[in-house]
Protein backbone atom coordinates (compact mmCIF):
# COMPACT_ATOMS: atom_id res chain seq x y z
CA UNK A 1 0.00 0.00 0.00
CA UNK A 2 1.44 3.31 -1.07
CA UNK A 3 1.43 6.55 0.83
CA UNK A 4 -1.30 8.18 -1.20
CA UNK A 5 -4.93 7.12 -0.95
CA UNK A 6 -6.04 4.48 -3.43
CA UNK A 7 -8.69 5.34 -5.98
CA UNK A 8 -11.97 4.63 -4.26
CA UNK A 9 -14.43 2.72 -6.40
CA UNK A 10 -16.36 1.10 -3.58
CA UNK A 11 -19.13 3.62 -3.03
CA UNK A 12 -21.72 0.85 -2.84
CA UNK A 13 -20.00 -0.40 0.33
CA UNK A 14 -20.00 3.12 1.72
CA UNK A 15 -19.64 6.59 0.27
CA UNK A 16 -17.19 9.03 1.84
CA UNK A 17 -18.91 11.52 4.10
CA UNK A 18 -19.72 14.64 2.08
CA UNK A 19 -17.38 17.38 3.41
CA UNK A 20 -20.36 19.72 3.75
CA UNK A 21 -22.09 17.15 5.92
CA UNK A 22 -18.92 16.62 7.93
CA UNK A 23 -18.76 20.35 8.61
CA UNK A 24 -22.37 20.48 9.78
CA UNK A 25 -21.87 17.47 12.02
CA UNK A 26 -18.66 18.82 13.52
CA UNK A 27 -20.42 22.05 14.34
CA UNK A 28 -23.23 20.14 15.95
CA UNK A 29 -20.84 17.98 17.98
CA UNK A 30 -19.29 21.02 19.62
CA UNK A 31 -22.36 23.25 19.83
CA UNK A 32 -23.16 23.73 23.54
CA UNK A 33 -26.80 24.35 22.64
CA UNK A 34 -27.21 20.91 21.03
CA UNK A 35 -25.82 18.65 23.73
CA UNK A 36 -29.00 17.71 25.57
CA UNK A 37 -31.09 14.63 25.13
CA UNK A 38 -33.68 15.45 22.47
CA UNK A 39 -36.23 13.51 24.53
CA UNK A 40 -35.74 15.86 27.49
CA UNK A 41 -38.55 18.34 28.07
CA UNK A 42 -36.29 21.20 29.15
CA UNK A 43 -35.15 24.03 26.90
CA UNK A 44 -31.89 22.50 25.63
CA UNK A 45 -33.67 19.20 25.05
CA UNK A 46 -36.29 20.98 23.01
CA UNK A 47 -33.60 22.77 21.01
CA UNK A 48 -32.10 19.42 20.05
CA UNK A 49 -35.53 17.99 19.26
CA UNK A 50 -36.31 20.92 16.98
CA UNK A 51 -33.18 20.24 14.94
CA UNK A 52 -34.08 16.59 14.75
CA UNK A 53 -37.51 17.40 13.40
CA UNK A 54 -35.91 19.65 10.80
CA UNK A 55 -33.67 16.80 9.73
CA UNK A 56 -36.60 14.40 9.70
CA UNK A 57 -38.30 16.64 7.17
CA UNK A 58 -35.16 16.65 4.99
CA UNK A 59 -34.92 12.87 5.11
CA UNK A 60 -38.62 12.52 4.33
CA UNK A 61 -38.38 14.88 1.38
CA UNK A 62 -35.83 12.65 -0.35
CA UNK A 63 -38.51 10.00 -0.83
CA UNK A 64 -41.49 12.38 -0.87
CA UNK A 65 -42.77 11.07 2.46
CA UNK A 66 -44.52 12.98 5.25
CA UNK A 67 -42.03 13.58 8.08
CA UNK A 68 -44.18 11.65 10.58
CA UNK A 69 -43.69 8.51 8.52
CA UNK A 70 -39.93 8.44 9.10
CA UNK A 71 -38.55 6.24 11.90
CA UNK A 72 -34.87 6.78 12.60
CA UNK A 73 -32.79 3.64 13.10
CA UNK A 74 -29.10 2.81 13.39
CA UNK A 75 -28.76 1.93 9.71
CA UNK A 76 -30.22 0.00 6.82
CA UNK A 77 -29.61 -3.34 8.51
CA UNK A 78 -31.80 -2.32 11.41
CA UNK A 79 -34.42 -0.77 9.13
CA UNK A 80 -34.62 -3.91 7.03
CA UNK A 81 -34.87 -6.10 10.12
CA UNK A 82 -37.48 -3.87 11.71
CA UNK A 83 -39.50 -4.02 8.51
CA UNK A 84 -39.20 -7.74 7.87
CA UNK A 85 -39.17 -9.17 11.38
CA UNK A 86 -41.46 -6.44 12.62
CA UNK A 87 -44.15 -6.85 9.97
CA UNK A 88 -44.03 -10.64 9.91
CA UNK A 89 -44.05 -11.05 13.70
CA UNK A 90 -46.90 -8.59 14.03
CA UNK A 91 -48.89 -10.43 11.36
CA UNK A 92 -48.03 -13.81 12.86
CA UNK A 93 -48.83 -12.76 16.42
CA UNK A 94 -52.09 -11.10 15.49
CA UNK A 95 -53.66 -14.50 15.16
CA UNK A 96 -54.48 -13.72 11.56
CA UNK A 97 -52.50 -16.77 10.57
CA UNK A 98 -50.42 -14.85 8.06
CA UNK A 99 -47.23 -16.84 8.09
CA UNK A 100 -45.99 -16.62 4.51
CA UNK A 101 -43.33 -14.22 3.26
CA UNK A 102 -42.11 -13.56 -0.27
CA UNK A 103 -38.55 -12.40 -0.89
CA UNK A 104 -35.74 -13.11 -3.34
CA UNK A 105 -32.42 -14.89 -3.43
CA UNK A 106 -30.53 -11.71 -4.24
CA UNK A 107 -31.43 -9.63 -1.21
CA UNK A 108 -28.72 -8.04 0.86
CA UNK A 109 -27.76 -10.24 3.80
CA UNK A 110 -29.82 -8.02 6.08
CA UNK A 111 -33.00 -9.10 4.33
CA UNK A 112 -31.80 -12.57 3.54
CA UNK A 113 -30.82 -13.55 7.05
CA UNK A 114 -33.85 -11.82 8.59
CA UNK A 115 -36.02 -14.04 6.37
CA UNK A 116 -34.02 -17.09 7.39
CA UNK A 117 -34.75 -16.13 10.99
CA UNK A 118 -38.45 -15.98 10.11
CA UNK A 119 -38.15 -19.54 8.81
CA UNK A 120 -36.74 -20.56 12.18
CA UNK A 121 -39.73 -18.86 13.77
CA UNK A 122 -42.12 -20.97 11.73
CA UNK A 123 -42.80 -18.71 8.77
CA UNK A 124 -42.77 -20.09 5.25
CA UNK A 125 -40.62 -18.08 2.86
CA UNK A 126 -40.81 -18.10 -0.93
CA UNK A 127 -37.38 -17.30 -2.36
CA UNK A 128 -37.82 -15.81 -5.83
CA UNK A 129 -35.10 -16.36 -8.42
CA UNK A 130 -33.77 -13.46 -10.44
CA UNK A 131 -33.75 -13.32 -14.24
CA UNK A 132 -30.40 -13.93 -15.94
CA UNK A 133 -29.67 -10.21 -15.83
CA UNK A 134 -30.31 -10.07 -12.11
CA UNK A 135 -33.79 -8.61 -11.82
CA UNK A 136 -36.87 -9.78 -9.95
CA UNK A 137 -39.99 -9.77 -12.09
CA UNK A 138 -43.09 -8.14 -10.67
CA UNK A 139 -45.06 -10.89 -12.39
CA UNK A 140 -43.17 -13.53 -10.40
CA UNK A 141 -44.14 -11.71 -7.21
CA UNK A 142 -47.80 -11.69 -8.19
CA UNK A 143 -47.65 -15.43 -8.79
CA UNK A 144 -46.04 -16.10 -5.42
CA UNK A 145 -48.70 -14.32 -3.38
CA UNK A 146 -50.97 -16.52 -1.29
CA UNK A 147 -53.96 -15.84 0.93
CA UNK A 148 -51.68 -16.17 3.97
CA UNK A 149 -48.91 -13.90 2.65
CA UNK A 150 -47.98 -11.39 5.33
CA UNK A 151 -45.17 -9.60 3.60
CA UNK A 152 -43.28 -9.12 0.37
CA UNK A 153 -39.72 -7.85 0.82
CA UNK A 154 -37.59 -7.03 -2.19
CA UNK A 155 -34.65 -4.74 -2.59
CA UNK A 156 -35.05 -1.74 -4.84
CA UNK A 157 -31.50 -1.79 -6.20
CA UNK A 158 -29.19 -4.75 -5.83
CA UNK A 159 -25.97 -3.87 -4.04
CA UNK A 160 -23.78 -6.09 -6.22
CA UNK A 161 -25.14 -5.60 -9.70
CA UNK A 162 -27.18 -2.42 -9.32
CA UNK A 163 -30.19 -4.14 -10.92
CA UNK A 164 -33.43 -2.30 -10.15
CA UNK A 165 -36.75 -3.80 -9.15
CA UNK A 166 -39.93 -2.21 -10.49
CA UNK A 167 -41.20 -1.32 -7.02
CA UNK A 168 -44.19 0.56 -8.40
CA UNK A 169 -45.45 -2.58 -10.07
CA UNK A 170 -44.79 -4.75 -7.02
CA UNK A 171 -46.42 -2.20 -4.71
CA UNK A 172 -49.49 -2.08 -6.92
CA UNK A 173 -49.93 -5.81 -6.92
CA UNK A 174 -49.35 -6.03 -3.13
CA UNK A 175 -51.81 -3.23 -2.49
CA UNK A 176 -54.44 -5.02 -4.54
CA UNK A 177 -53.95 -8.13 -2.43
CA UNK A 178 -53.70 -6.36 0.92
CA UNK A 179 -50.12 -7.52 1.43
CA UNK A 180 -47.47 -5.37 3.12
CA UNK A 181 -44.62 -4.53 0.73
CA UNK A 182 -41.20 -3.60 2.04
CA UNK A 183 -38.36 -2.49 -0.17
CA UNK A 184 -34.71 -2.16 0.78
CA UNK A 185 -33.65 1.08 -0.88
CA UNK A 186 -30.25 1.34 0.80
CA UNK A 187 -28.51 1.46 -2.57
CA UNK A 188 -31.06 3.47 -4.51
CA UNK A 189 -32.11 6.25 -2.12
CA UNK A 190 -30.49 9.46 -3.26
CA UNK A 191 -29.31 7.81 -6.49
CA UNK A 192 -32.56 7.43 -8.36
CA UNK A 193 -35.82 9.31 -7.72
CA UNK A 194 -38.12 7.62 -5.19
CA UNK A 195 -41.67 8.71 -4.44
CA UNK A 196 -43.25 6.57 -1.76
CA UNK A 197 -46.60 8.24 -2.14
CA UNK A 198 -46.80 7.62 -5.86
CA UNK A 199 -45.47 4.08 -5.62
CA UNK A 200 -47.50 3.13 -2.57
CA UNK A 201 -44.90 0.97 -0.84
CA UNK A 202 -45.75 0.25 2.80
CA UNK A 203 -42.21 0.16 4.17
CA UNK A 204 -38.94 1.44 2.74
CA UNK A 205 -35.47 1.11 4.28
CA UNK A 206 -32.47 3.28 3.63
CA UNK A 207 -29.45 4.72 5.37
CA UNK A 208 -27.21 7.75 5.35
CA UNK A 209 -23.78 6.35 4.60
CA UNK A 210 -24.54 5.20 1.08
CA UNK A 211 -25.52 8.72 0.04
CA UNK A 212 -22.85 10.92 1.59
CA UNK A 213 -24.13 10.92 5.17
CA UNK A 214 -22.69 9.36 8.31
CA UNK A 215 -22.50 5.67 9.13
CA UNK A 216 -24.68 4.41 11.95
CA UNK A 217 -27.96 6.11 11.07
CA UNK A 218 -30.79 4.97 8.87
CA UNK A 219 -34.50 5.31 8.44
CA UNK A 220 -37.54 3.21 7.91
CA UNK A 221 -40.41 4.79 6.07
CA UNK A 222 -43.70 3.51 7.51
CA UNK A 223 -46.76 4.38 5.45
CA UNK A 224 -49.43 6.15 7.47
CA UNK A 225 -52.61 4.99 5.74
CA UNK A 226 -53.06 2.11 5.81
CA UNK A 227 -50.37 1.69 8.42
CA UNK A 228 -48.62 -1.68 8.44
CA UNK A 229 -48.50 -3.29 11.89
CA UNK A 230 -44.94 -3.64 13.18
CA UNK A 231 -43.44 -5.27 16.25
CA UNK A 232 -40.43 -3.34 17.51
CA UNK A 233 -36.98 -4.92 17.55
CA UNK A 234 -35.92 -3.06 20.66
CA UNK A 235 -38.08 -1.74 23.45
CA UNK A 236 -37.69 1.06 25.95
CA UNK A 237 -38.55 4.73 26.25
CA UNK A 238 -41.04 4.58 23.41
CA UNK A 239 -39.16 6.91 21.06
CA UNK A 240 -40.08 7.13 17.38
CA UNK A 241 -43.71 6.38 18.00
CA UNK A 242 -42.84 3.29 20.00
CA UNK A 243 -41.27 1.61 16.98
CA UNK A 244 -37.66 2.31 17.92
CA UNK A 245 -36.75 3.10 21.49
CA UNK A 246 -33.37 4.62 22.29
CA UNK A 247 -31.89 8.09 22.60
CA UNK A 248 -31.69 9.74 19.19
CA UNK A 249 -28.18 10.78 18.20
CA UNK A 250 -28.68 14.44 17.33
CA UNK A 251 -25.51 14.84 15.26
CA UNK A 252 -26.20 11.67 13.32
CA UNK A 253 -29.76 12.64 12.50
CA UNK A 254 -28.67 16.13 11.49
CA UNK A 255 -25.95 14.67 9.26
CA UNK A 256 -28.44 12.31 7.67
CA UNK A 257 -30.82 15.20 7.04
CA UNK A 258 -28.09 17.32 5.48
CA UNK A 259 -26.96 14.47 3.23
CA UNK A 260 -30.53 13.87 2.07
CA UNK A 261 -31.04 17.55 1.36
CA UNK A 262 -27.87 17.61 -0.75
CA UNK A 263 -28.84 14.43 -2.57
CA UNK A 264 -32.42 15.59 -3.19
CA UNK A 265 -31.20 18.51 -5.24
CA UNK A 266 -28.64 16.59 -7.25
CA UNK A 267 -30.07 13.20 -8.22
CA UNK A 268 -30.62 13.82 -11.92
CA UNK A 269 -27.34 15.64 -12.44
CA UNK A 270 -25.27 13.18 -10.38
CA UNK A 271 -26.86 10.21 -12.09
CA UNK A 272 -26.10 11.48 -15.60
CA UNK A 273 -22.50 12.32 -14.73
CA UNK A 274 -21.89 9.04 -12.93
CA UNK A 275 -23.49 6.98 -15.67
CA UNK A 276 -21.20 8.62 -18.21
CA UNK A 277 -18.18 7.86 -16.04
CA UNK A 278 -19.28 4.25 -15.66
CA UNK A 279 -19.62 3.90 -19.42
CA UNK A 280 -16.16 5.41 -19.82
CA UNK A 281 -14.82 2.87 -17.33
CA UNK A 282 -16.45 -0.02 -19.19
CA UNK A 283 -14.91 1.27 -22.40
CA UNK A 284 -11.51 1.61 -20.78
CA UNK A 285 -11.71 -1.93 -19.46
CA UNK A 286 -12.11 -3.38 -22.94
CA UNK A 287 -8.33 -3.45 -22.96
CA UNK A 288 -8.69 -6.32 -20.48
CA UNK A 289 -10.98 -8.39 -22.73
CA UNK A 290 -12.13 -11.13 -22.57
CA UNK A 291 -14.37 -9.78 -19.81
CA UNK A 292 -18.07 -9.74 -19.03
CA UNK A 293 -20.63 -7.75 -17.14
CA UNK A 294 -22.65 -9.25 -14.29
CA UNK A 295 -26.21 -7.96 -14.25
CA UNK A 296 -28.12 -5.83 -16.68
CA UNK A 297 -26.74 -2.65 -18.18
CA UNK A 298 -30.29 -1.27 -18.40
CA UNK A 299 -32.65 -0.61 -15.50
CA UNK A 300 -29.79 -0.60 -13.07
CA UNK A 301 -28.11 1.96 -10.86
CA UNK A 302 -25.85 4.32 -12.79
CA UNK A 303 -23.01 3.88 -10.32
CA UNK A 304 -22.35 0.14 -10.31
CA UNK A 305 -20.31 -1.88 -12.77
CA UNK A 306 -19.90 -5.52 -11.87
CA UNK A 307 -17.35 -7.01 -14.18
CA UNK A 308 -15.60 -10.36 -14.55
CA UNK A 309 -12.18 -10.93 -16.12
CA UNK A 310 -11.57 -14.25 -17.85
CA UNK A 311 -8.70 -16.26 -16.43
CA UNK A 312 -8.37 -14.19 -13.28
CA UNK A 313 -8.08 -15.42 -9.73
CA UNK A 314 -9.80 -12.98 -7.42
CA UNK A 315 -7.41 -12.91 -4.49
CA UNK A 316 -4.43 -12.33 -6.74
CA UNK A 317 -6.24 -9.56 -8.58
CA UNK A 318 -7.06 -7.87 -5.29
CA UNK A 319 -3.46 -8.07 -4.11
CA UNK A 320 -2.42 -6.71 -7.48
CA UNK A 321 -4.72 -3.72 -6.90
CA UNK A 322 -4.01 -3.38 -3.20
CA UNK A 323 -3.24 0.15 -2.16
CA UNK A 324 -4.01 1.54 -5.60
CA UNK A 325 -7.65 0.70 -6.14
CA UNK A 326 -10.28 0.11 -3.47
CA UNK A 327 -12.98 -2.17 -4.85
CA UNK A 328 -15.09 -5.10 -3.71
CA UNK A 329 -14.56 -8.58 -5.01
CA UNK A 330 -17.22 -10.99 -6.14
CA UNK A 331 -16.36 -13.02 -3.11
CA UNK A 332 -17.30 -10.65 -0.32
CA UNK A 333 -19.02 -7.33 -0.59
CA UNK A 334 -18.25 -5.56 2.63
CA UNK A 335 -19.80 -8.23 4.75
CA UNK A 336 -18.06 -9.57 7.79
CA UNK A 337 -17.79 -13.02 6.25
CA UNK A 338 -16.20 -14.06 2.98
CA UNK A 339 -17.96 -16.50 0.66
CA UNK A 340 -18.62 -16.54 -3.07
CA UNK A 341 -21.40 -14.08 -3.82
CA UNK A 342 -24.79 -15.79 -3.64
CA UNK A 343 -26.13 -12.97 -5.79
CA UNK A 344 -23.85 -13.77 -8.71
CA UNK A 345 -24.44 -17.47 -8.12
CA UNK A 346 -28.15 -17.00 -8.50
CA UNK A 347 -27.48 -15.27 -11.84
CA UNK A 348 -26.05 -18.61 -12.92
CA UNK A 349 -22.36 -17.71 -12.69
CA UNK A 350 -19.82 -20.41 -11.86
CA UNK A 351 -17.75 -20.06 -8.70
CA UNK A 352 -14.70 -19.43 -10.93
CA UNK A 353 -16.48 -16.63 -12.75
CA UNK A 354 -17.67 -15.15 -9.45
CA UNK A 355 -14.26 -14.96 -7.92
CA UNK A 356 -12.94 -13.42 -11.14
CA UNK A 357 -15.45 -10.59 -10.72
CA UNK A 358 -15.15 -7.15 -9.19
CA UNK A 359 -17.81 -4.69 -8.18
CA UNK A 360 -16.70 -1.20 -9.21
CA UNK A 361 -18.97 1.46 -7.77
CA UNK A 362 -18.66 5.15 -8.44
CA UNK A 363 -19.75 8.11 -6.39
CA UNK A 364 -20.33 11.82 -6.39
CA UNK A 365 -16.63 12.47 -5.89
CA UNK A 366 -15.41 10.20 -8.66
CA UNK A 367 -13.52 12.03 -11.44
CA UNK A 368 -12.75 11.18 -15.05
CA UNK A 369 -9.05 11.18 -14.18
CA UNK A 370 -9.67 8.56 -11.52
CA UNK A 371 -11.69 6.48 -13.94
CA UNK A 372 -8.93 6.55 -16.53
CA UNK A 373 -6.26 5.70 -13.97
CA UNK A 374 -8.42 2.94 -12.53
CA UNK A 375 -9.00 1.43 -15.96
CA UNK A 376 -5.26 1.46 -16.65
CA UNK A 377 -4.44 -0.14 -13.30
CA UNK A 378 -7.03 -2.84 -13.88
CA UNK A 379 -6.03 -3.55 -17.46
CA UNK A 380 -2.34 -3.72 -16.54
CA UNK A 381 -3.01 -5.93 -13.54
CA UNK A 382 -5.26 -8.31 -15.42
CA UNK A 383 -2.73 -8.55 -18.25
CA UNK A 384 0.15 -9.26 -15.89
CA UNK A 385 -1.70 -12.06 -14.13
CA UNK A 386 -2.86 -13.47 -17.46
CA UNK A 387 0.73 -13.52 -18.68
CA UNK A 388 1.37 -16.30 -16.16
CA UNK A 389 -1.70 -18.38 -17.05
CA UNK A 390 -1.45 -21.96 -18.25
CA UNK A 391 -2.72 -22.56 -21.75
CA UNK A 392 -6.49 -23.02 -21.76
CA UNK A 393 -7.10 -21.18 -18.49
CA UNK A 394 -8.46 -18.07 -20.18
CA UNK A 395 -11.26 -20.16 -21.65
CA UNK A 396 -12.00 -22.24 -18.61
CA UNK A 397 -12.00 -19.49 -15.98
CA UNK A 398 -14.98 -17.49 -17.23
Amino acid sequence: MGDSQPIYLDHAATAPLDPRVAAIMSECLSDPALQANPASAHAPGRAAAARIEGARAQVARLINAPPESIVFTSGATESVNLAILGAARAAGAAGRGLRHVVTSRIEHRAGLVACRQLEREGFEVTWLKPTADGRIDAAAVAEALRPDTALVSLMHANNETGALTDIDAVAACCRDRGVVFHTDAAQSAGKVPIDVVASGVALLSFCAHKLGGPKGIGALYVRRRPRPALQALQFGGGHEGGLRSGTLATHQVIGFGAACALASGAIAQDAARIRALRDRLWLGLQGAAPLWRNGAAESSLPAILNVGFAGIEGESLLLELDGRLAVSSGAACASATAEPSYVLRSLGRSDEAIQASLRLSLGRGTTATEIDRAARILVDGVRRLRSALPAGALERIA
Partner: protein, 129 residues
Protein backbone atom coordinates in the same frame (compact mmCIF):
# COMPACT_ATOMS: atom_id res chain seq x y z
CA UNK B 1 -9.91 -14.84 1.64
CA UNK B 2 -7.44 -12.28 2.83
CA UNK B 3 -6.23 -9.57 0.47
CA UNK B 4 -4.24 -7.67 2.98
CA UNK B 5 -0.66 -7.16 1.80
CA UNK B 6 0.28 -7.24 5.46
CA UNK B 7 -1.07 -10.78 5.65
CA UNK B 8 1.41 -12.07 3.08
CA UNK B 9 5.00 -12.79 4.01
CA UNK B 10 7.66 -10.60 2.38
CA UNK B 11 8.77 -13.61 0.39
CA UNK B 12 5.29 -14.18 -1.03
CA UNK B 13 4.97 -10.52 -1.90
CA UNK B 14 8.32 -10.47 -3.64
CA UNK B 15 7.63 -13.63 -5.61
CA UNK B 16 4.12 -12.41 -6.48
CA UNK B 17 5.41 -9.12 -7.81
CA UNK B 18 8.23 -10.63 -9.85
CA UNK B 19 6.81 -14.04 -10.76
CA UNK B 20 10.29 -15.34 -11.69
CA UNK B 21 10.01 -18.16 -14.19
CA UNK B 22 6.47 -17.38 -15.29
CA UNK B 23 7.48 -17.84 -18.84
CA UNK B 24 7.78 -20.18 -21.75
CA UNK B 25 10.92 -22.31 -22.02
CA UNK B 26 13.51 -20.62 -24.12
CA UNK B 27 14.17 -22.45 -27.35
CA UNK B 28 17.04 -24.88 -26.99
CA UNK B 29 18.32 -28.40 -27.37
CA UNK B 30 17.54 -31.43 -25.21
CA UNK B 31 14.26 -32.92 -23.98
CA UNK B 32 11.30 -31.22 -22.37
CA UNK B 33 9.09 -32.49 -19.59
CA UNK B 34 6.02 -30.99 -17.97
CA UNK B 35 3.82 -31.59 -14.96
CA UNK B 36 0.37 -30.11 -14.51
CA UNK B 37 -2.32 -30.20 -11.87
CA UNK B 38 -5.76 -28.60 -12.20
CA UNK B 39 -8.18 -28.13 -9.32
CA UNK B 40 -10.46 -25.24 -10.17
CA UNK B 41 -12.69 -25.92 -7.20
CA UNK B 42 -9.71 -25.54 -4.91
CA UNK B 43 -8.64 -22.43 -6.79
CA UNK B 44 -5.34 -23.66 -8.29
CA UNK B 45 -4.01 -24.69 -11.68
CA UNK B 46 -0.24 -25.14 -12.06
CA UNK B 47 1.95 -26.32 -14.90
CA UNK B 48 5.72 -26.77 -14.68
CA UNK B 49 8.00 -27.29 -17.64
CA UNK B 50 11.67 -28.23 -17.66
CA UNK B 51 14.33 -28.60 -20.29
CA UNK B 52 16.73 -31.48 -19.77
CA UNK B 53 20.13 -31.56 -21.37
CA UNK B 54 22.59 -34.37 -20.74
CA UNK B 55 20.42 -35.81 -18.02
CA UNK B 56 20.37 -32.52 -16.12
CA UNK B 57 17.62 -29.95 -15.76
CA UNK B 58 18.89 -26.75 -17.32
CA UNK B 59 15.72 -24.66 -17.13
CA UNK B 60 12.39 -24.67 -15.34
CA UNK B 61 9.38 -22.43 -15.90
CA UNK B 62 5.82 -22.40 -14.67
CA UNK B 63 2.34 -21.20 -15.49
CA UNK B 64 -0.29 -20.80 -12.87
CA UNK B 65 -3.76 -19.64 -12.02
CA UNK B 66 -4.30 -19.19 -8.33
CA UNK B 67 -4.02 -17.05 -5.25
CA UNK B 68 -0.82 -15.18 -4.39
CA UNK B 69 0.44 -18.08 -2.29
CA UNK B 70 -0.13 -20.46 -5.17
CA UNK B 71 1.69 -18.21 -7.64
CA UNK B 72 4.52 -17.63 -5.19
CA UNK B 73 4.81 -21.34 -4.47
CA UNK B 74 4.97 -22.17 -8.17
CA UNK B 75 7.61 -19.51 -8.74
CA UNK B 76 9.62 -20.71 -5.79
CA UNK B 77 9.44 -24.36 -6.88
CA UNK B 78 10.56 -23.43 -10.40
CA UNK B 79 13.52 -21.53 -9.01
CA UNK B 80 14.49 -24.41 -6.72
CA UNK B 81 14.40 -26.83 -9.61
CA UNK B 82 16.33 -24.47 -11.86
CA UNK B 83 19.02 -24.32 -9.19
CA UNK B 84 18.81 -27.79 -7.63
CA UNK B 85 17.46 -29.98 -10.37
CA UNK B 86 15.40 -33.05 -9.65
CA UNK B 87 17.00 -33.50 -6.26
CA UNK B 88 16.05 -29.96 -5.37
CA UNK B 89 12.48 -30.56 -6.46
CA UNK B 90 12.21 -33.88 -4.70
CA UNK B 91 12.95 -32.20 -1.38
CA UNK B 92 9.80 -30.08 -1.67
CA UNK B 93 6.32 -30.88 -0.49
CA UNK B 94 3.30 -28.81 0.51
CA UNK B 95 4.36 -28.62 4.15
CA UNK B 96 7.71 -27.20 3.16
CA UNK B 97 5.93 -24.67 0.91
CA UNK B 98 3.74 -23.65 3.85
CA UNK B 99 6.87 -23.04 5.93
CA UNK B 100 8.92 -21.30 3.28
CA UNK B 101 6.08 -18.96 2.40
CA UNK B 102 4.63 -18.48 5.85
CA UNK B 103 1.24 -19.45 4.47
CA UNK B 104 -1.86 -19.67 6.65
CA UNK B 105 -3.41 -23.07 7.28
CA UNK B 106 -6.31 -22.54 4.89
CA UNK B 107 -3.85 -22.44 1.98
CA UNK B 108 -2.70 -26.05 2.47
CA UNK B 109 -5.24 -27.33 -0.08
CA UNK B 110 -3.89 -25.13 -2.82
CA UNK B 111 -0.28 -25.84 -2.04
CA UNK B 112 -1.07 -29.54 -2.32
CA UNK B 113 -2.09 -28.82 -5.92
CA UNK B 114 1.33 -27.22 -6.45
CA UNK B 115 2.87 -30.36 -4.95
CA UNK B 116 0.79 -32.52 -7.31
CA UNK B 117 2.07 -30.63 -10.35
CA UNK B 118 5.61 -30.90 -8.99
CA UNK B 119 5.30 -34.68 -8.48
CA UNK B 120 3.94 -35.12 -12.00
CA UNK B 121 6.85 -33.13 -13.37
CA UNK B 122 9.47 -35.05 -11.43
CA UNK B 123 8.02 -38.41 -12.55
CA UNK B 124 8.25 -37.38 -16.18
CA UNK B 125 11.65 -35.82 -15.79
CA UNK B 126 13.07 -38.92 -14.08
CA UNK B 127 11.71 -41.02 -16.93
CA UNK B 128 13.68 -38.85 -19.36
CA UNK B 129 16.93 -38.95 -17.42
Amino acid sequence: MSRDAAHYSPRVLELFVQLPGADALAAGAGAMASGEAIALDRGAWIRFEVRIEGGRIVDCVFRAWGCPHTLAAAAWVATEIRNGGIAGGAAIDASRLMRELGAPAEKMGRLLVVEDALRALLDRARALQ
